[in-house]
């Protein structure tokens, strides 16, 4: 189901240069009324789109809603695809925007007690995982570590490091300055480094303070 080409959303070269993109052909058939074409397109990229939606939201129900919303949008607006990116990148962008939209709405209506937020709107974790580390908890798997990040930091890390999107594009998608994206990504990586056991805060008090300083020094924007 998943393509074997590199994962970056901007990896536009998926084969020999003159090879017609099968995705473009599917999209064209869809616009021409072939009722099966879009289903094929969806299946071809389902895992790819699910991955980014799920990693951004860390909630299967929300991720499913978001991918469905994005696919229906793409399904409807297929005629507007102008070939400025690959179809895969186009679908990715629509999905990412839908997921970020969902994150914003989540933040806007906190279901439970609102989390205290940091200087740039990043909420603090309900419980500091570092405490668990200090108590000797085993290092986390990277997916678990990602899940523990506050949503804003996670979004930056996922889009920049996992999805390989250019920082400027991420800034546009998130609606924040480039510096904010860099700052959030840096802080997200620092926390991941701890969660993953690359840094042991219990033994090296200096390092977390080094890495967390950005937290109090503002957005860097």
């Amino acid at each position: 189901m998943h393509e074997s080409t590199p994962e970056g959303p901007d990896s536009t070269v998926a084969g020999p240069v003159n090879q017609p993109d099968p995705d473009v052909e599917l999209l064209r058939r869809h616009v021409d009324g072939d009722p099966a074409a879009f289903a094929d397109l969806f299946r071809a990229h389902a895992d790819y789109l699910w991955s980014v939606a799920y990693r951004l939201l860390h909630d299967a129900e929300d991720a499913a809603d978001v991918v469905q919303e994005a696919m229906l949008s793409a399904h409807r607006r297929a005629a507007g695809f102008r070939g400025e990116s690959t179809v895969r990148t186009w679908l990715h962008r629509i999905t990412v925007n839908a997921a970020l939209d969902r994150l914003r709405r989540r933040a806007a209506r906190p279901a439970t007690v609102p989390m205290p937020t940091g200087p740039d709107g990043v909420e603090h974790e309900p419980a500091d995982p570092r405490d668990a580390h200090a108590e000797g908890e085993l290092r986390l798997d990277i997916e678990d570590a990602l899940a523990r990040l506050p949503a804003a930091l996670r979004a930056a890390v996922v889009l920049v490091d996992v999805e390989g999107m250019p920082v400027a594009q991420v800034a546009q998608a998130l609606g924040v300055p480039v510096g904010t994206v860099k700052s959030r990504a840096a802080r997200g990586r620092a926390r991941l480094a701890e969660h993953l056991g690359y840094l042991r805060p219990g033994n090296q008090q200096a390092i977390p303070s080094v890495l967390e300083r950005g937290e109090v020094s503002g957005d860097g924007s």
């Binding site: 299946r43 991720a63 499913a64 229906l72 949008s73 409807r76 990504a185 937290e215």
Partner: protein, 365 residues
Amino acid sequence: MGPDMHGTPVPRHPDGELLDAYADGERTPSSVDRHVRACVDCQRAVLALRNVRVELSRLAAVAMPEDVARRIQAALTAAPPPSPQPDRSGSAGRRDRRTERRGPGRSRRPPTYGAAARPLTAAPARPRLLPRSARPERLALLAVCLLAVVAGAGLLVAWQHNGAGSHAYESASGSVAASGKDRASGSAGDAVAGPPSVAALAPSPQTLSGSMVQVADSRAALVPAAVAPHAKDLLAGLIPLAGYTSLDARGTSEAQAAGVAASWEAVVTPGLLGCYEKLAAGVGVVLAIDRVSYGGRDAVLVVLDIQDASDGPATPAGGQSAASAAPSAAVSPSRDRVKLAVLDLDCNAEHLSNDTRYTETATKA
């Protein structure tokens, strides 16, 4: 030690973001480099940050859960066709999100859709009425399944019915594979039509002779909504085949000469052969036939591959008692469609309309 002195470490650790940029190889003030070279803690931090980036970049895709994939597939199937007007942005505009949230079930289809080929189950409210297996997304697999069947034709030709006479039809395998390839260029799909009008019945050379046809004897009791899913299963090889026949006179005699059971003969009677030929004329080739039960009576399900070359919509004709359950819009020929017909076992070409219990044309939705 002042921070401006050359060759001495900057006493304060660099800002975390700066350290991260340094770890990424970005341009940073030379003071950062000087500090890191002299600071073991920061060297560890840089290494850790680099490891994190590497791990993140190597994260594999997560497989979409099956139920989510099915749900989205169903939503797409129920969605109205793409707007002919190019979207103003063509990318991730957010302005029309509101309409995106309308949900998959509510379509905004105009009341009539003329001659546009549509998946039969796309009619308003139909997805709720049909069993899940009748929905077009299942039918979308028809073509793929057909190809799979064709690829495996050499294996499937063996007599599979009841394990009896499993040796009986092996001789057909060579020609099956060959004709299967020819067939693969056309494909499956589905929607609605009646039998072809009597006026268009000059048998075309491609209709019957030369094509191998899957023959099954499932005796499945079918209702209108189950016809398309059953046909899909038939094409997908999920229903044990009794064998293959060429349906021309010679094929029939071969089948009989091979000592085929009575059930086989029941679907290749001269009367039925005439009906198949009449059905196929102007439509396409017969892909498969299956002895079934329909409305409590013995019947035969015929699956025809609608050929691209056919012109003019099939004309709805009488005898469609199941028309209320079947989509009733006439559709123009297009690629990747199959016509499904349920005929009385004692069908006679002279009275094909009367002997046709049910028909359906399906797009490969």
